[in-house]
């Protein structure tokens, strides 16, 4: 006989094997039952937690909203202050520009006078020179 066993021994072995496998299947059934019950229990717990999480989430959202509102209010105040600063800066800039224009206008207004004075001076010198030259020429001629 194969494996040194007669048919009776082989059948007994197979019977034992079948019995053990059958018992294993029974245990697996029990394990699946256990897992099922645990899953059901966990699902119930999770369901409760879902509701709690929703409430907490809403509360957090409310807190967030309140904080956001406070921040917005603070930002609004800051913006008003910044706008005032910008306005005063604009006024200062306009004043500076006006002063600059006035200074430029004064500078340009002074220029022609000087030129006129210089031309007038030159003409005077030329007149004096011509006068002196003419006098000298006439004196030599006499």
């Amino acid at each position: 006989m194969a494996g040194g066993k007669n048919n009776t021994q082989r059948i007994e072995n197979l019977e034992s094997h079948a019995a053990t496998l059958s018992a294993r299947l029974d245990v697996f059934d029990k394990m699946i039952d256990g897992i099922d019950k645990l899953l059901e229990k966990c699902s119930k717990t999770t369901e409760g937690h879902d509701e709690q999480i929703t409430v907490i989430h809403q509360q957090l959202l409310f807190v967030d909203l309140k904080q956001t509102l406070a921040t917005l209010s603070s930002l609004k105040e800051d913006m008003v202050a910044v706008r005032k600063d910008i306005e005063s800066l604009n006024a200062w800039r306009d004043e500076r520009k006006r002063e600059k224009d006035e200074a430029s206008r004064r500078r340009w207004a002074f220029g022609p006078n000087i030129v006129a004075a210089l031309i007038s001076g030159a003409i005077s010198i030329l007149g004096v020179g011509l006068g002196v030259g003419l006098t000298y020429y006439l004196n030599r001629k006499q």
């Binding site: 034992s16 018992a23 294993r24 245990v27 029990k30 394990m31 256990g34 019950k37």
Partner: protein, 195 residues
Amino acid sequence: MQISFPAIEPRYVFERVCLAFPALADGKPIECYVTAELLNAGFGATDFTEKSMREAYTSHRAEVQALAQGHIENGWIDDQNRVFLTTRHTRLSVTYDDDVDKIPRGRDIATSAQRFLTGIIGPNAQAVDVRWVASVERPFAGIYVEISDPVTKYFARGFVGQKETIDGDFNSFHLAKLWSGVLGERSRVLTGNLG
């Protein structure tokens, strides 16, 4: 549970080569079958003939009925109210260490878990030793179960619980997993013995 065995002669069941005898559990009729192999291996039947089986049964009636009673008490009855006594019948040895009583409700926890374990071990597990131990040292305080298989020498140990923190479903799953380990090892050994 009130179990009794009516004093009538057993019935020979040709298809199964076994003897059938009735039992009453709290008034509910149960049919018990003892196989020719068991009568031959455990109760002195010289061969598998009806005569020899009846003689073995008659001379060991009390032992056979005690075995059937154990099966009924453990709930090892199939859905057709039948109990089968075979050569693979479960020989369960359960011991509780003294330390188990030092854990609050320790004995209740252990006996309740043992009831479940007995249910999943079933009637055809052969020899199984179960020992309930307790540890009072933190952080491992609690009830532990040790299952050993004298045939394969496999040993499994698992934590069952502590005080009121026990989850019945979790324990059931955990005990089933431990027993599954024992059966897995048996399968492995039996597969090694095949052809």
